[in-house]
Each structure stands twice: as C-alpha cells, then as structure tokens.
C-alpha cells in the first residue's frame, strides 16, 4: 500500500507521536490551566511550539481545539460582525470556510464576495488588492495554500492589502504549517491550523491564533476548570475560547511531533525534488497535471482525458493499492477556476520515497493504457 493522501491526514507519524499519546492515556491526567510551579501543562507547551512556527510572541493567544474546522468556525462565527458587513474570500477555500460564511450570509448577517483564483489555484495579489479597495470588507479570509493544487498564496501581500483597506484577516494554514515557513502569517489577525496534516500530529488536534486585542465571541461556552464562579467565559486567552476538557492524549502526541520536527527539520529541497519527479512523471504518462508555478506544497492534482476521476481513483485504490483522493477535496468552488469538474489528488509527505513516487507514476501509466 502506498499512502499519498497526506493533504487530508498525514501518515505515517514519527513513532514518538503514538508513544506520547499512549503514555498520556495510561498516566494520571493533567489539570489544564491550574498552573503551579511543578505542573507540566501540555497545552501550554503546544502553544509555545506553534507560536514559534507562526513567529508570534504570545502563546496564550493560541486557542487549542479539535481541528482547523473548529478553529475556522470559531474565527468566523465569533468575529464581531455588524449586520450588513462584507467578507471577501477566494474560490479556493475549503468547506470549513465556505459553509460558515454561507450560513452567516443565509441569515442575512453578511455579504460574501468570492474572488476567482487562477488556473493553478492561486489568488492574484492584484485582484485581491482591488477587491479590498472596492468592497472594504470587515473580514478577509484566505487559505495560505490550496488543498487542491498546492499553490501557495502570497500571504504577505494579501494580508497587507487587507489591512490597508481596514479589514481583519483570517488565514487558513491547514495545508502549510509544518511544511512551509509560516512566520509570514504572524501579521494576520487570526490563523487557523490543524495538527494532523504536515505537523504530523494526531487527528483531533488543531487551533486558532487570535492577535491580542481582537475579541472573539466564544461560540462554545462551558467549563474551564478555573474561575468557575463566573457566569461567563473568562476574558483572558486562551480560556476565553476553550470550553470543556481538551484532547490531552492528542496534544501530547502533537507536542511529540513538534519536538520531533524541531530535531528533524523539513527538507524542502528533497521534498521539492520528489514533487517535481511526480509532477513530470505523471505528465509524461499522459495525465493533465495542474502545475502551479512558484511556491507549492507537496500536492498534485491531475485528470486523465477520457477517463472519469472516479474510474481512475477506483483503479488506483482498488487495483494498485494507492491511497489517494478523488473528487472535490471539500473545496467545491475552485473547480470552475481550474476548468475541470474534479481531480485526482496525490499528496506527499516527508516520508514518501522516490520508489513510491515511481510506483505511482507507473500505476497511472498502466491505468491510462
């Protein structure tokens, strides 16, 4: 079996991740937020690790939760909109952005403007800047990289243009944190991330960075373990946005993954070499590969003329035992911009080998015939 579905969930994980999660399940649970000089707070340690990756200096401003969908829901539903506000976003967004925005729009609370992306899945910084000047949105939302094509957006230009127009910025770093330098996102007002993709952590871990001074309305309220005599959620971060008992074993796993990644830095050149080998090999085999220029994540989307993605996906999975993804990849609006109705997606990880890449190329060649 060859696993090429890392843009959904990375696999395998470094062995220390499972060991740490298992140890957390057998050891006495911690008491988050209660502090004390001898207490080890796994959440605090994860916040510090993620803050280093994001280049932000306020770890408590990172609320931890289940995944990026949790974080994006929190960022969008908790944002202090006034009725009639405009949100500008892109057609490359995942449903975890599109569906919260759609709900707010269907309730008549906001108007959403969807900007086209180019045929590689990247939003033009110029188009974005013009939209900011035209619509003056309260909130601008964009994904750092397309989960369909791997195209990385010029985050600095997009954030700066939004800020110049007075908009707050929410960035989805699900596809980039752990495989790209994300310190460029430090000037965003909110950054959503997940632990189970390129951070190599367990499923069920993620979070939202919220810049100091931006007050979100918590949409999930409940126990915080401390300050229980208050009727409302405490105002200070991260307590303000973290109700209920967290996924402690999961975050022990994520912490182990963060520590492991610090000791084993991502080798961007090796990754790019495998990406290019796969991209060029698929094209040579007869696939129509979406090839973004510039910065990319290790994600390749392709189609084969005369063959449905369902058919190709069936052959790759059931016959060739390649785990990949076919269809819309939860980003349905991007396909009008790409000019195809759906794609097959291969997504690599740092553990993917050249042998696996060659196997995948040959498998596609054999499917095409």
């Amino acid at each position: 079996m060859i696993y090429l579905n890392n843009a959904a969930t990375s696999w395998p994980k470094p062995p220390c991740v499972a060991e740490a999660a298992a140890r957390a399940l057998t050891e006495r649970p911690g008491a988050a937020h209660r502090g004390g000089i001898e207490a080890f707070d796994v959440y605090e340690a994860v916040r510090e690790g993620v803050a280093r990756l994001l280049g932000v200096s306020e770890p408590p401003c990172i609320a931890l939760g289940a995944n990026a969908s949790w974080a994006l829901n929190l960022g969008i539903f908790g944002f202090p909109f006034k009725d009639g506000d405009t949100v500008v976003t892109t057609r490359a967004e995942h449903n975890s952005v599109l569906r919260p925005l759609w709900r707010l729009e269907s309730e008549g609370r906001i108007k959403t403007v969807y900007l086209d992306v180019d045929a590689s899945g990247r939003v033009s910084a110029e188009l974005w800047r013009k939209a900011m000047q035209k619509y003056h949105p309260r909130l601008a939302v964009f994904t750092h990289a397309s989960n369909v094509t791997g195209a990385v957006n010029d985050a600095k230009a997009l954030i700066d243009a939004a800020h110049e127009a007075g908009a707050a910025v929410l960035t989805d770093a699900s596809q980039t944190l752990g495989c790209l330098d994300c310190s460029v996102l430090s000037s965003a007002d909110m950054v959503a991330f997940t632990g189970h993709k390129y951070l190599l952590g367990p499923q069920g871990t993620g979070g939202l960075y919220v810049r100091p001074g931006l007050a979100l309305l918590p949409r999930l309220v409940g126990g915080t373990g401390i300050k229980s005599d208050m009727d409302t959620m405490p105002e200070e971060m991260p307590l303000h946005l973290e109700a209920g008992t967290g996924n402690e074993p999961g975050f022990h796993g994520l912490l182990a993954a963060l520590d492991w990644a610090e000791q084993n830095p991502y080798e961007a050149n090796a990754e790019l070499s495998r990406y290019e080998r796969l991209r060029d090999g698929l094209a040579e085999a007869g696939a129509e590969v979406i090839c973004p220029g510039g910065a990319v994540t290790p994600v390749i989307s392709f189609t084969v003329p005369g063959m449905s993605c369902a058919e190709l996906g069936f052959m790759l999975s059931d016959s060739c035992e390649i785990v990949c993804r076919t269809g819309l990849h939860c980003a349905p609006k991007i396909f009008a911009c790409l000019g195809v109705p759906e794609t097959v997606r291969f997504s690599l990880s740092r553990f993917t080998t050249d042998i696996e890449v060659d196997f995948a190329i040959n498998a596609v060649r054999d499917c095409i015939g």
Binding site: A310, E311, F314, D318, S319, L328, A363, D366
Partner: protein, 97 residues
Amino acid sequence: MKYSCKKVENCFADSQTWEYRLPISGEAFSALLPKGWAIRRNTRLRRPVFIAALGAFSVKGVLDESIIKVSFPSDNWEKEKHDFEEWLEKKNVEGDI
C-alpha cells in the same frame, strides 16, 4: 445469487454508489452481464479490473475479488437498484458470501 450491499459515499450528494459482496469473482460476474453492457478490462494493472457501463449505470470491480462497486443513475436510482438486485437474485449461482 446471494449478496450483501452497503452504500459508498463520495463528494457528490446525489451519488448513488453501492458496494456488493458476491459469492463469485468480478470476472465471473462480468461474464453474466447481459448484452448491451460495454465491458472493458484492464489487465496491465497489478490486480486486473473490469469496468462495465450501460448509459449512466456502471459497475466496477477487481477481476479476482468478490466485491463490485455499482453506480446507479441519480434520477431513478431506487428503481434501478431494485431491478439490479432482482436480477442478481434470479441468477442461479451457488455459494455463500
């Protein structure tokens, strides 16, 4: 012929794809399909497959496996599924699933 079936989901809300476990191989099943079905085989693959289509109705499977994937046309899928299962039941094929 006995069978068991379970729905398979994908990205499309109106998709009607079901997996059937049969008492025979995909190869034997494809040989039972009546005239009119366009049947293609790909034997270059590690585990050879067949893909059969009749309009928007399609059946796919690995030739030496006993599970097939059946996609019914989305408009009228309930009748098509009923007819397909009735056709399966009428096939005089021995064997447990």
